[in-house]
């Protein structure tokens, strides 16, 4: 009789170990955050919107925090085609100037989005990180001086909540350009 008891105990232990842990942040919440950032990017300039080339994707890393990424073209310019095999220097310089002028708008939106993430993802512990990375897309013929390839902003959730409430300034957000 000892064997069936031991077997039952072992089976119960195995069942308990393989059961999925309840996620801290649900997928639906993450998807809502993704759509929210997509919408935010498209709404920066309605008349001349930023070109969203990669929808926002978010993952929650247990013990670290939530990470969101997207891919954006800062400005839609003239493209090379069989009807226009090359662009003039003036056109290339003009596109660069336009992108440089729109870069601060994107950064501002990213900071606001981080605040919104921190406020919405209330199941994430305050000590964990909120990270938002945007990859910027360029053509090979573009002049990229002064333009980053990727912008990553991150901060502790608590710091972001403090920034949003106005208790501290947004200097708590760590900003990196690659």
């Amino acid at each position: 009789m000892r064997h069936p008891v031991l077997t039952a105990l072992a089976l119960a232990a195995a069942l308990c170990g393989s059961a999925a842990v309840e996620p801290r942040v649900s997928r639906a919440t993450m998807a809502a955050m993704e759509k929210s950032f997509d919408h935010r990017i498209r709404s920066i300039d309605v008349s001349d919107p930023f070109d969203l080339l990669g929808s926002t994707r978010g993952v929650y890393l247990e013990g670290y925090g939530a990470v969101f990424t997207a891919e954006v073209n800062l400005a839609v310019g003239p493209a090379i085609s069989p009807f226009r095999p090359a662009l003039t220097k003036e056109q290339i310089a003009k596109l660069r100037q336009k992108k440089l002028a729109r870069l601060p708008l994107l950064k501002r939106q990213m900071k606001d989005a981080l605040g919104a993430l921190a406020a919405s993802l209330d199941t994430v512990p305050p000590s964990e990180q909120m990270v938002l990375g945007v990859s910027l897309d360029y053509f090979s013929w573009e002049e990229r001086a002064g333009l980053p390839g990727q912008i990553v902003m991150q901060a502790r959730r608590q710091a972001l909540l403090d920034v949003t409430s106005g208790r501290i300034r947004d200097a708590a957000i760590r900003e990196q350009e690659f």
Binding site: L53, G54, A79
Partner: protein, 187 residues
Amino acid sequence: MSCSPLDLKDYLFGVLTEAERRQVEEHARGCQACGEELDRLRLTEAALRSLPDEEPPRRIAFVSDKVFEPGWWQRFWQSGPRLGFASAALLSMAILVHGFLRPVPAAAPMATDTAAIEARIGAAVVKAMTESEARQALKLTQLVADTEKRLQFDRQADRVAFEEAFNYLQKKFNVMYTASADLGGSR
């Protein structure tokens, strides 16, 4: 016509002595014709003296002046026989000078080997043509290689541009597809 013992014009121009002048004056007082002649002469003299003195123009010259005499060269040039003689003398001198200064002609080759010359010329022509063709072929090869290289570069650039544009469109399409899927509620 004057009957005066002395010429009235001499009296008038003052070439007579004092005694002769008195003699003419006494005669003119007694002779009406001479007195009138003397008055006319005086009148003429007065009229001449009333005219202003004028210098004769300097450019006026006479044919007899030495200025118009022909020079030796003009006399020579206008003289046909002299000119002919001088020409003949010059021609003779030129012939003589040419005869003395003419280079001695080289002795003509006694016999000309026409076939050898033609062979040499032919060989030179063939050599020049071969060299020219070789140069042209080299240039052509280089040109073709350069053109091919340029075309290859252009093709590569086109391919990269096409790939970039295609990737860009594909990304946009993916975003649109995702968005439409979201609208359809498939996620």
